[in-house]
């Protein structure tokens, strides 16, 4: 009996150590889980901290005299070549009369955005009868003015180290005190295409590019993916060919996305000579990229339909094809749609293959068709992230927020669809 006694003693002696170990292990697990979530929190905090301000933009109030002397010297208003910038500059000179000499004036003009003249032009185009009157405009201020107002430019450091001179800062302060500067919602972000001027740059072009691409992708990958899943689950004989397809699909799902870009470049652009930078080609590449995701999800959905349904239909005299299309497919549809939405959200966030097929160019115009040169939302983020201006960093964060909002909506739709429609058998 002394043996058991000593075993119990041994166990008791080791107990403290083992419990400590247990505690350490558990804490490590908690810590690891915390790291991921902590990163997520830091990530969103940084993003919103950086990007929220981009939804606001500083505008400047100008009383512009639409003087015919400047813009219509020959008596005829030429909307293309007239000096609209001259009008806004004259208005700014009236506001800040202390600027003397050419260099000081040039400094002063830099407070204005290049978009100010366009705004006046567009106004005149819509209201030609206002020529010669004085109108009040709220025009976008230059991005540096905006950055100063948002506190992103440190006015206390040495003049040579910051993009605004002491004189410019004094002007901005005086304009601000006079109530001529106002922070408003940045509509340009959603209504403009890309631009070299941060205050005029928007994501509409990129969003339209992404939209066209997703249209191509969904209209190809959903039918093809569902058809492939139906064949593999319901019709494919168990042979080498089916095994090959099966292995292939699983592998394709894990092939790096950039390789799909190489495929797109070699096949769609070089061999089929489709246009570069076009949403059509981007959509085709993304179709190939998302097909495995959709096929795998659709197969799971088909597998979940119980065999009794098929047997009942077959027993009533339906052909195999009728069983599948009349009974199995409608029942598996929620699962298939969920898989498709998840595939689409992957396609929306994908950028590496798009770099390969030339969708990374600087494109100002908003695309209007499937073959126009276009960019995509993630690629726009990549392009802006490379720009050195502080104002672009802010806009990059804003574009990311928009992208994540779209992704969140899509995933939410998938979750709701799954909850609402998926049946438990």
């Amino acid at each position: 009996m002394s043996d058991t006694h000593s075993t119990a003693e041994k166990v008791a002696a080791g107990l403290g150590r083992r419990r400590r170990k247990e505690f350490v292990f558990r804490t490590l697990g908690m810590f690891a889980t915390g790291v991921g979530i902590l990163f997520l929190a830091v990530f969103f905090a940084t993003l919103i901290g950086n990007g929220a301000s981009a939804f606001k933009q500083t505008f400047m109030k100008l009383e512009v005299e639409l003087s015919a002397d400047i813009i219509a010297p020959g008596g005829e208003l030429d909307l293309v070549y007239a000096d609209f910038d001259g009008l806004t500059r004259a208005a700014l000179r009236d506001k800040l009369p202390d600027a003397s000499g050419r260099s000081q004036r040039r400094e002063m003009y830099r407070l204005l955005s290049a978009g100010a003249g366009y705004q006046v032009r567009d106004f005149l185009k819509a209201n030609p009868h206002t020529l010669g009157t004085t109108q009040t405009f709220w025009v976008p201020a230059a991005s540096n003015v905006d950055m100063l107002m948002k506190g992103n430019i440190d006015a206390t450091i040495d003049e040579t180290l910051r993009p605004l001179s002491d004189r410019q800062i004094a002007w901005i302060r005086s304009l601000d005190e006079a109530g001529d500067l106002e922070s408003r919602f940045n509509m340009a972000l959603f209504t403009n295409g890309d631009s070299r001027e941060p205050e005029l740059a928007g994501i509409k072009g990129a969003m339209m590019g992404s939209l066209f691409m997703l249209l191509v992708t969904i209209s190809l990958s959903f039918p093809i993916g569902v058809a492939a899943a139906i064949y593999l689950e319901e019709f494919a004989p168990k042979n080498r060919w089916s095994d090959l397809i099966e292995v292939n699909i699983n592998n394709l799902a894990a092939v790096p996305s950039i390789v799909f870009g190489l495929l797109g470049l070699a096949v769609f652009i070089n061999w089929m000579s489709l246009p570069r930078s076009a949403p059509l080609v981007g959509g085709l590449v993304l179709t190939l990229l998302t097909l495995p995701v959709i096929i795998i999800a659709s197969r799971a959905a088909i597998k979940a339909v119980p065999p009794s349904i098929r047997e009942a239909a077959l027993g009533l005299g339906a052909s195999q094809m009728q069983v599948v299309f009349h009974h199995v497919m409608p029942l598996a549809m929620p699962g298939m749609l969920t898989g498709t939405i998840i595939g689409m959200s992957r396609a929306l966030g994908e950028s590496a293959p798009l770099l390969m097929i030339g969708m990374v160019a600087f494109i100002v115009d908003v695309p209007t068709s499937f073959t126009d040169p276009a960019s995509a939302l993630p690629v726009q983020i990549y392009l802006w992230a490379d720009s050195p201006e502080r104002a672009f960093a802010e806009r990059t964060s804003a574009a990311i927020i928009v992208l994540l909002a779209f992704l969140l909506l899509m995933n939410l739709a998938a979750v709701i669809l799954r909850r609402r429609m998926e049946r438990k058998w």
Binding site: G29, F39, L40, S257, I258, L263, I295, L407
Partner: protein, 462 residues
């Protein structure tokens, strides 16, 4: 005629064909009430006619579209004056390009002479003619096919079987696209890679230690003959991948263990979706975060402790990539851990072992193959990851194991070599495809291995 109009017309024809076919089958037996006298349901006769109306026409259309530009270009070249036809291929391509631009009213890069203007008019003429011919042929074929099919309908005609056979072939075609994609990837990468290895010996590519892909554009240019030793790229990729794995594997594994064994259902219910959010963030966003938040932070931290950290350090890219991969590792480990039969866990607990002992001595050894398979998939993901390294890692090919220095990776170089204008006969562009081939082969091996290990192991306990 625009191709969209043509497709719309075909769709209209198909709808009409459907009703004609259905109508004929019904009239054969004398009205809707007499359905049973037919072999198939009336609708199937309609589908049969519609398929024969549309399918041949669509096939013709796609074939035509594929060949059109080649044929038209060849015709235009044949119509050019002799002096142009004798030009070297590159110049001729440029000329054709300019003629095309001229024809579509775009900006032309050279002075336009008479023969170019003529060629452009000719090109436009050919294109219009081609479209007219296509429309005529396609619509004619549609009507012909539909009419023939319509004539074949009779009482005993097995329309359902015919339609189902076509649908079946369509399904087979759809499922073959996956195989075609793989073949397409292999062929497109392989051909260009072979052309590359004709210019640069494979041994130099695989074992050379200097990577500087700048090749001279003109023959008389100084320096820059280009050297294509890919070892620094492989080393850089491995360095960043290892950093990512050092982060992702322990954290992912411990997360899976904690969520599977320790956490309450409520914590699990919150933490799991949050980690899935981490998996759903686009990589370009991770890249932005790595380049604009993590890298500067590492640099300033390094400065304050006296370590020189490059602003494009491997560490920043690796860290963020590791965080990106955590959800992948944790979900695959989670699957492996949950696949271990609970009898094993209960047995170990019943013998008096603590939870951590059960985990490390019973469950993890049993789940090890599955976990290793998951890690292989994670490594393949890290090697192929592009945007994070493009944005946060450097371009200079340094052969170093120091995580604080800038290194470059295979994917970064592919992007750098292929973004912008390319010339498809320079070693520089072709090098990207050789790198792509390496990337594809390596990730393919890892994937096949990882997937088969994960699957085999899962079946073992089922």
């Amino acid at each position: 005629m625009q191709s969209t109009t043509l497709i719309l017309l075909l769709a209209l024809l198909a709808t009409a064909a459907f009703f004609f076919g259905r109508g004929r089958s019904l009239s054969l037996v004398g009205g809707p009430g007499h359905g049973p006298a037919l072999h198939s349901l009336p609708g199937y006769y309609g589908y049969f006619v519609a398929i024969w109306c549309v399918l041949p026409a669509l096939l013709l259309m796609s074939g035509w579209m594929l060949l059109e530009s080649r044929v038209v270009t060849a015709l235009v070249i044949a119509g050019l004056p002799e002096s142009y036809q004798l030009m070297p291929e590159g110049q001729l391509n440029l000329l054709i390009n300019n003629i095309q631009n001229l024809a579509s009213g775009d900006v032309v890069s050279v002075a336009v002479d008479e023969s170019m203007q003529a060629a452009a008019t000719e090109l436009n003429g050919y294109l219009t003619k081609s479209r007219q011919l296509l429309a005529a042929f396609a619509l004619g074929l549609a009507c012909l096919g539909g009419a023939l099919a319509w004539r074949r309908i009779d009482r005993d005609f097995r329309a359902r079987n015919r339609v189902e056979a076509v649908v079946r072939w369509l399904l087979i075609g759809a499922s073959s696209i996956a195989v075609l994609t793989t073949i397409g990837i292999v062929l497109s990468v392989l051909f260009e890679a072979i052309r590359f290895f004709q210019k640069v010996p494979a041994t130099e590519f695989l074992f050379g230690t200097t990577w500087s892909p700048q090749t001279a554009i003109r023959a008389d240019q100084v320096g820059s003959s280009g050297s294509f030793g890919a070892i620094p790229l492989f080393a850089g990729t491995m360095l960043i991948t290892s950093i990512a794995m050092v982060i992702a594997v322990p954290i992912g594994l411990m997360t899976a263990i904690y969520l599977a064994e320790y956490s309450t259902t409520r914590v699990r219910g919150i933490a799991k979706p949050l980690l899935e959010v981490l998996a759903g963030i686009p990589t370009v966003v991770y890249g932005f975060f790595a380049a604009l938040t993590v890298a500067p932070w590492l640099r300033s931290t390094g400065d304050s402790v006296g370590i020189a950290v490059s602003s494009e350090s491997a560490l920043a890219a690796g860290l963020v990539m590791g965080i990106m991969i955590i959800p992948l590792v944790s979900s695959l480990s989670d699957d492996a851990i949950n696949a271990v039969p609970s009898a094993m866990r209960d047995g170990a607990l019943g013998l008096g072992s603590t939870r951590s002992e059960t985990m490390t001595k019973v469950i993890l050894p049993a789940a090890l193959p599955g976990i290793v398979g998951g890690i292989l998939l994670a490594v393949s993901r890290a090697i192929g990851e592009t945007m994070i390294v493009v944005m946060a890692a450097g371009l200079a090919a340094n052969l170093t194991a120091n995580p604080f220095e800038a290194v470059t990776t295979v994917t970064v170089q592919i992007v750098t070599l292929l973004v912008g204008d390319q010339e498809f006969d320079s070693a520089k562009t072709l090098a990207a495809f050789a790198l792509g081939l390496m990337l594809f082969v390596v990730t393919l091996c890892l994937n096949v291995l990882g997937i088969s290990v994960v699957r085999k192991y899962r079946e073992q306990y089922d």
